[in-house]
Amino acid sequence: MDVDGRMGMVDSILSENKDKWLESMIQVKNRVIGNNKQKDEIIHQGVIPRLLQWIIDEDIPVELRTESAIVLGSLAKGTTENINCLVDSGCVAVLLKGLSSNNIKFIEACLRCLRTIFLSENSPLEQIYQDHTVIPHLINILSKSFCTQECITTIFSNCCKTADHQNALSRNGAIAALAPLLCSSSYKVQMPTLKCFAVLCYENETVSKAAATATYNGESIPNLLLRLLSRDKPSEMQMAAAKCLTYLCRGGAIPTHCPTIQNKTLSTLIRMCKKDRTLEENVEGAETLAYLIEEDANLQTLASISDHIIKTLADYLRYTSVQQINTRSTNRKVVNWSNELKQAAFRAFASLGANDEEIRKKIIETENLMEHIVNGMNCSDLKVQMGAVRCLHSLSRSVQQLRTTFQDHTVWKPLMNLMNNGSKELLPVASSTLCNLLLEFSPGRERPASESPRLSVSQKNKACLEAGAINILAKLTSRSEGDLRLNGIWGLMNMAFQADLSVKIQIVDVIGTEQLFRLLSDPDPAVLIKTLGLIRNLLAGRTDIDHLMKIYGSQIMQAVVFILEGDHVVEIKEQTLCILTNVADGDEAKEFIMGNEDVLKKLMTYMLHTNVKLQIAATSCISNLVWNEQEGAYNRQAKLRDLGIQKLLQQLLSANDAVLFDKVKTALQQFT
């Protein structure tokens, strides 16, 4: 009976018997409500195309079209497959067309279905941007009813994912249309509206500025948002409003020192991190806080003393209960709250400790923080890895921590593992961290004798680190991303600083001279400077200089000439001249300069350069060449005298710059 009844109504829907349509539709509607099995069956019986056909046919009575849209909406509330079926049959385009109707009931039914579709993951959101009339129309009918407000704001908030989307919405007047809805009496409208503002402004300076200056009823949007931040508002609303203000601030539309941000937004976010809020708010609060204060030292200081935030975040790391159903009904998925909380805490710590050593110290005092970070880097969750590395990076800016805590925990191991095997997204921050770690692990740094036990540990680390790090960093230098190349060469430079000859040779061997010289023509001047810095660090220590010049001398001299002849900023030229100075410090290496009249002439040119820094650098190089305690000094002096360099130096005695004057005087004193 039951089966027959259903067949009957589907049949009559698919038949041409107009009189039965509406009645059968209502039967179908009642049948599928809240029943996924029925939804599946109805879809499999091929009802969707029929419904779409009716919706698009303006000759069909509007009641029937409305019922059709309602049934589609009901089907959309089913499984993901159900939604995919709807999308695949072209449902979105048809419903969007339906919006141009004059019948509000029908429009609302279409909107409800669209909202449900766009709330799903992988929704076909591009479809609302393809037809240029869609967004203006949606904005046009936005204010018609509570239902249109709720649905359209929800659609916008889920369909705005790129800067293009943001700009398209903003261009069509979304901000002015949404502003009044912030004052809506309906929570169901206010919440998606807040979400809209957040996604509209996120990392978009233009839209943020437009939003911050827009007004409704004589009140600016930041002020309207401020009202929703009030502590008697629902917690989720405070959170959402704080997020909007955060994005406006980071979008450059509200200054960070403004009370709105410094007092209201900051304290709201900190409140959201407290235990009495939901886990969801804890995570969102900490993440948003991390984002808000990321680049502002003042906000970091204020946040660090607010309501025991560091202790509160430390508790996040200890949360162990793993799985819990998400409370939001719209996307019921299992969330690993332990991981979510950890990564949020790590990110907040990273921001808090970005600039201030005192704050870093307080963070480090967190019980077992280093273990948590190491575990985090070893965790399989990318977000946790990312958070842990960021946190480590922030803390690695502290020399003190590098010398103590970081030594006691082999933080570099998981870090290098991540760089070798982890996601690409981790590379920039991981390689920056590695650069910082290499500063301390560099050999040759003097230590007091009392620290010798630690030294042996550190040396063991060092060996392991260097083995892997050189490879990783060298690889980075050939990446297409500028920031990765920079971090790679930077790391190598740090590593080469006061390093053993064996390490230096290893560095050059691994990176290869070809790659090294390729970096000298890198489009990024920062990479170029660090490369020169690496060469300079390599050519330090007399025996090392001679040794390395013996192997790479001609290439290095070639490179130097290449840079000196090139069109570069002063800093680069200065760095290059410093390399020459180092070369001139060697014993045998001196010959590479003395035997190259071209280079000597260039040095003379730089001695007369308008920039005093370059004059100093060139003079230092000459001074090294004529240093009279070294073998063969007499011959070199003679040669340079012949070239007129001594005279040049005498001329420079009239220099105004004290440093240059000293250098010149020292050089002249060498002449016998």
């Binding site: 009030s230 502590r231 008697d232 007092n263 209201k264 304290s267 900190i270 204020l302 003393i305 607010s306 309501d307 025991h308």
Partner: protein, 512 residues
């Protein structure tokens, strides 16, 4: 507490120290708490009396919880033994160690740097939620039934019989009193509120024989009111017999109509008598506590409110109200015709007119007279020709004589009561006040003129209603009013016991 040591070090003292940023909880060793502070910093301290905790602020930033389990100001026991010295109150203290140090204290005389308002808002909200989400076990639907009974009894008490009937039908409640009794009370109440005291007394004696004879003080109160209404020119005795019975006037619609004035709620649960002046503020619809109105605007307020009330009431009620307005109109017309023209200029709207005699403003008068004259036409015709100014008893000589005669009767009744029951301060005062009206050439504008305000009929009406109900073996106060009164009392007790949350709950939030 030793005042020579820094706050926090000694027992029963708590502190946050600027040199190390530590908090001290009755101990010489501190706990790491917040940042250090120094010259120019603004330090705030907030004691939460709801959860007995405390936090400090620095330059407007909440530094987080410092102490929990602070001593409660006074515990329940101490109300009985207030001599206990040890459980002291907390006092704000600042400790200084270096000579020449200066601090500035702010107890709210200038705005706080920390946004305390916002913090309090949260606690208001939390307290509200605690009340609203208070768990009630309602397995057998008893809670639901109790609530419905409260509504139903309230409706019955005040004689909203139509609504009461509909409500009990849809909720399956039974009404204790029978419908005719409710209607009787309703009729009497209407008379009282219309100022027709003579008829009201007569009807009461008819319908509830012996009631007033047993309650001579009540009868005296009614008669005092009657006297006042005579002065006012509203009582039947002085207005003539044209309107004998209210029933005849609104014919068919009457069986669904309800008293048009909202009842008075007595805040004091102990009050055995309805004291007119003591009751204020708890009436859902209007401010009752209009004492001695010196300006016309106060009486206008009540009237405007009345107009707004009509929106919620049935059509039958509307008629009643228009009748009420007619009465006001009559008062004005009886008294002074010339004022009406001024009233048409809507001067009342500006609040400029201070004369008591203009009870209605031109607008409402016009509306009701023109709009509803099918019910009131006859009455309109009865109205005395307006003379130059409002006069005693409507200006009729016969009426004045009646009034004086009535006054003498009242006087002798008072003496009789005194002989039989001893001296009654309140009766004496009522009589004195009522008679004082005659001492002024323009009683409406006199210091005792407030008595002539129709609002003053309400306590009388409520007292009579309660007495009738009591005589029928029914509660003289509806449970709803009892609940409100108990809650109010409870809040007062909480405040006396210094229980913090009572400051964050407001009964009026629930009375609209």
């Amino acid at each position: 507490v030793n005042m020579n040591r820094l706050p926090g070090w000694d027992k029963q003292s708590y502190g946050y120290h600027g040199d190390d940023g530590h908090s001290f909880c009755s101990s010489g060793t501190g706990q790491p708490y917040g940042p250090t502070f120094t010259t120019g910093d603004v330090i705030g301290c907030c004691v939460n009396l709801i959860d007995n905790s405390c936090f400090y602020t620095k330059n407007g930033i909440n530094l987080g919880l410092a102490f929990t389990d602070l001593p409660q100001k006074i515990t329940g026991k101490e109300i009985i033994r207030p001599s206990t010295k040890n459980k002291s109150n907390l006092y704000p203290t600042v400790g200084l160690q270096t000579p020449g140090e200066v601090v500035e204290a702010n107890f709210g005389q200038t705005p706080f740097v920390f946004d305390i308002e916002d913090y309090m808002k949260e606690w208001h909200m939390k307290t509200k939620l605690t009340i609203e989400r208070f768990p009630v076990s309602d397995k057998k639907g008893e809670w639901q039934t109790a609530l419905q009974q409260i509504v139903s009894t309230y409706l019955v008490h005040h004689g909203y019989c139509g609504t009461a009937e509909a409500f009990s039908r849809s909720t399956g409640q039974s009404i204790e009193e029978d419908m005719s009794s409710i209607k009787h009370r309703q009729r009497i109440q209407k008379l009282v509120l219309a100022g027709r005291m003579g008829e009201a007394i007569e009807t009461t004696q008819q319908l509830y024989p012996g009631l007033l004879e047993r309650n001579l003080n009540l009868l005296f109160m009614l008669k005092c009111r009657q006297f006042i209404e005579m002065v006012n020119g509203t009582d039947t005795e002085v207005r003539g017999p044209a309107i004998r019975s209210p029933k005849s006037r609104h014919g068919s619609g009457s069986n669904r109509s309800s008293p048009n004035m909202s009842p008075v709620h007595h805040t004091n649960s102990n009050s055995q008598k309805n004291t007119p002046i003591g009751s204020r503020g708890n009436s859902p619809n209007r401010p009752i506590g209009v004492k001695g109105h010196s300006s016309g605007s106060s009486s206008q307020t009540s009237q405007n409110l009345q107009v707004s009330q009509t929106n919620n009431q049935s059509v039958g009620d509307l008629k009643t109200i228009s009748e009420e307005h007619m009465n006001h109109a009559n008062i004005a017309m009886n008294g002074s015709g010339c004022h009406m023209i001024q009233d048409d200029d809507v001067e009342m709207m500006d609040g400029l007119v201070t004369e008591t005699k203009t009870f209605t403003n031109g607008n409402s008068e016009g509306t009701y007279m023109n709009g509803n004259n099918h019910t009131c036409k006859s009455e309109e015709m009865d109205v005395d020709t307006p003379s130059g100014k409002r006069q005693l008893c409507g200006g009729s000589q016969a009426a004045i004589e009646k009034m004086l005669l009535f006054g003498r009767d009242l006087q002798s009744m008072s003496q009789r009561l005194k002989r039989e029951y001893g001296k009654s301060e309140s009766n004496n005062k009522s009589l004195q006040n009522a008679f004082s009206l005659l001492a002024y050439s323009d009683p409406w504008n006199s210091p005792v003129g407030y008595q002539l305000d129709p609002v003053q009929r309400e306590p009388v009406c409520a007292a009579l209603n309660s007495a009738i109900l009591e005589s029928q073996g029914l509660p003289k106060q509806p449970p709803l009013e009892l609940v409100i009164a108990q809650s109010t009392e409870c809040m007062k007790l909480m405040s006396k016991a210094k229980i913090g949350s009572c400051a964050f709950a407001n009964l009026n939030d629930y009375l609209h």
